[in-house]
Symmetry: C2
Subunit: 510 residues, 2 copies
């Protein structure tokens, strides 16, 4: 019964929205070269969260762009404690609107390793290729851009998908409405963060200082990829995240492996033994209590999950492997478990620059993802305890000779700050309204994900502002987010603008 | 009885040689600034064995230097198959001499990682410091050089100890004799190799093409460090050596660790599991048959070993560790066993450039040292078989999609070429003569090492020329050979010249 009501509603809404949606799409189509050109200019500004000078340049770029578009009350919101990495705020308030949505994206990006990028690419020199770089796709110019002619055209650059395309999709959606003379059905607030990839260390501080300014009914988080099947999705939760770095030690100076090998302790060996002890032969984490405290999925969440198209086989084929890490655990189940990923390992040198030495130290960076119920500090401490249980003395400093002469095994552990997982109830009235509004943009039913594998510090909205976020990704799933050769499919970016515009049209009283 | 004869002999020889030794030392003392300046100029030429242009520059530098010193028949000996990395040859023949010694050193060096060197140092910009760089030692100029005033002065540069100081010690020893008007007691041949650090791939070819030119009674290999106790040593054997690189695979493109972590296989995890499986908890290699075929030490060798001063505790204190890698195995015992060292491991990025990704591959370079009896090819194959036994499909190529869709675990193994261990019988008459000749330079008894931990392809002299080598190191043991901050203690370098000169004085009929 409920389903029939919903479908009827959807049909009416779709009919009602058709003219406005068409106007929006016409605008996007007519202006695509300019829109893409603007995104590419934005991508030229390096944006590692710890690169203060360039971060400020990015913030100012957005600031000017928002003012130019006629957005009101544009301002840089700095953390109270430090004048770094401002969030860029702006608003467009509609007299009769009763619903207020904050549109969020972030403008900072992950660190880059330019030498890992394809020889023809540089992280901050965006180019358009007619397909994937690995398949030898050719460069096309901005003038040649036409998503009908080049349906697989992509912009390659750091943050092309994560998450500068989010920023620009939101801003262009607003401009599309303005140009078409469409009045938004809601109050729109814009909030672009500048240190999400650094773990949003000051987000809470910024929100706390501006609770009145940021008053709203929900946050729309434009980040992450659409479903791997290509279908649009709304995501009602994210995993928590915390990193840590472990360094173990060999001799105080690098030693010739012939004169000292297998006598002086090799830190690479100590590290592989330690890391290997963290997972069993079936890929499950062996650290004590690691899977404790996990909240089980509700029935509603299980139902939503059941509608998600199966993609494991397709993905495995695309990604070139036939055995997942955890035995008998599929992707969606894996994403609802806490995880431990070895981001990086380094000991000595490999490849052609490898020398026959025993290095002085070896280190690894771990990424722990957390699901609802698991506390990040406690999870980190479980890993530390595991290292201790393997016989290591734990230190936060480089070991000195005194420490070295006391403990046979020493691990320096650098604990980064993290945050917990977050979940939004998809039955909340404002969430139901958003679902309905978005459904207008597509004949295909939107997927409703109880939780995404990725992490954003979304718990903070609930904690500080008592409001819930929902994540609305626009990027293609094969975007190489966080890694080399990051890219955004241009057709997805343009569709993202359309989606955001339709969400802004959302009539608050329907 | 034999001992009394030996001591009497030593005393007489020492007395006989005193005047000439003093002349040599006076020359070295008077010319030390020029000698050190020449070594520093030599160190400015980069010398990675695969850097063809610079290798040629090094060879030409030596060529000119030898001609300038009055050495005869100077020539570049190229491998027949390729015009690369020549050995530089020269000779000084004495009419009545009945003994011919070839003095060997190599002019190429290990690869460098400049970013790992101390901030004040660059591998190919040699500087003199008044002590170790790690202790904040100050730079001193060439003009200030005085080994009495600065006994711990060191030259920092790649190959300062390994092995350009060897080349220059030999050449300056010859000049010292010339300047003092001392006629050598033997025929001297010079042979400076240019690809030792690359595993001497063409040494056999060069020797084979010049067997008549290189006819001799023994080779003096000037390479490696003196004993850690600071005492001089002669080394009668070296371990064999062979490297290999292992690469294991994750997804075909780097993946976001939140969206795919613990589902897509992490190559870092695969690699640590694989490497960890190669050694047991006590540090012993677990690879099947790894310790087979090892020839036991003879009684004579055991007696010589018993005279070596114990250094394990001193070294462990200096190197900052209290537990050696193999339980209950001391350094000298470890050096007489085959070894497996993890030179380098790389997966993703570590430190501040670590990103939250599952990398596409992870790799490690292994260094296998071999003792007499163990064949390098067979040892390499044992490691490959071990990898296979852990479930990996072995390939020499990057895996393609077909391979990826067939095997759950794939390891690309790159096998480098290696060589076997070598041993010289210290009872051979020419070796006894050399021992006696060297003893003249010192009141302290020379140590006689049955074998060094390090490797040189010395088997080739026996194989091609039917002659035996003995290794005579001059470098300080804390020279950071093969690694960052390589250095030579200037006093050791100057003593090295004196040692080589005394060996050249060696009367062939005594």
């Amino acid at each position: 019964m409920k389903r029939i009501v919903l479908l009827t509603c959807m049909f009416l809404t779709h009919f009602f929205a058709t003219t406005q949606s068409t106007q929006v799409n016409t605008y996007i189509q007519a202006n695509q070269k300019r829109i893409i050109g603007e995104l590419m200019n934005f991508l030229k500004i390096p944006n590692h969260a710890k690169d203060a000078g360039n971060i400020q340049m990015n913030a100012e770029f957005i600031f000017k762009d928002m003012e130019r578009r006629g957005i009101s009350n544009v301002q840089l919101l700095y953390p109270a404690s430090k004048r770094i990495n401002p969030a860029v705020y702006g608003e467009y308030l509609v007299p009769d609107a009763t619903t207020t949505l904050v549109f969020y994206a972030h403008y900072d990006g992950q660190p880059v390793s330019p030498e890992k990028w394809h020889a023809s690419l540089e992280p901050f020199k965006p180019v358009i290729l007619n397909g994937k770089v690995e398949t030898g796709a050719k460069t096309i110019t901005l003038d040649e851009i036409d998503t009908k002619r080049y349906p697989d055209a992509r912009i390659y650059a750091r943050s092309s998908s994560d998450d500068k395309s989010g920023v620009m999709a939101i801003l262009n959606a607003f401009s599309a409405l303005q140009s078409a003379g469409i009045t938004p059905g809601i109050n729109i607030k814009f909030f672009f963060e500048g240190e999400e990839e650094a773990g949003s260390p000051h987000l809470e501080e910024i929100l706390s200082a501006h609770t009145a300014l940021l008053k709203s009914d929900a946050w729309i988080i434009c980040d992450g990829p659409v479903h791997q099947s290509g279908r649009n999705q709304l995501v009602f939760g994210v995993r928590g995240d915390v990193n840590m770095e472990i360094t173990v030690y060999g001799p105080t100076r690098p030693l010739h492996s012939g004169h000292y090998g297998n006598w002086a302790p090799n830190p690479g060996l100590l590290l592989v033994k330690l890391l290997a002890s963290m997972k069993d032969e079936n890929g499950f984490v062996t650290i004590k209590d690691f899977y404790n405290d996990v909240l089980k999925l509700t029935d509603k969440e299980k139902q939503a999950l059941a509608k998600i198209p199966p993609i494991d086989s397709m993905l495995m084929k695309e990604l070139g492997f036939i055995r997942p890490e955890m035995k008998n655990i599929g992707l969606s189940e894996a994403l609802n478990l806490p995880s431990l990923n070895i981001n990086g390992i380094e000991s000595g040198k490999s490849g052609t620059s490898a020398a026959n030495v025993i290095p002085v130290s070896a280190s690894a960076v771990l990424d722990l993802r957390l699901v609802k119920g698991v506390d990040w500090k406690q999870q980190q401490e479980r890993v530390v305890q595991h290292i201790r249980d393997q016989g290591f003395f734990i230190t936060e400093q480089e070991p000195d000779m005194q420490m070295r002469s006391t403990y046979p095994l020493i691990a320096k552990v650098r604990l980064e700050k993290g945050y917990n997982a977050q979940k939004t109830d998809m039955q909340l009235p404002v969430m139901q309204k958003i679902i309905l509004g978005l459904q207008k943009t597509s004949q295909t039913e939107w997927l409703l994900q109880p939780g995404l594998g990725g992490s954003l510090p979304l718990y903070v909205f609930e904690k500080v502002l008592n409001v819930y976020p929902v994540t609305l990704p626009i990027a293609n799933h094969d975007n190489n987010q966080h890694a080399e050769n990051e890219n955004i499919l241009i057709s997805r970016f343009l569709e993202g603008i359309s989606i955001m515009a339709n969400l802004m049209i959302l009539s608050s009283d329907k």
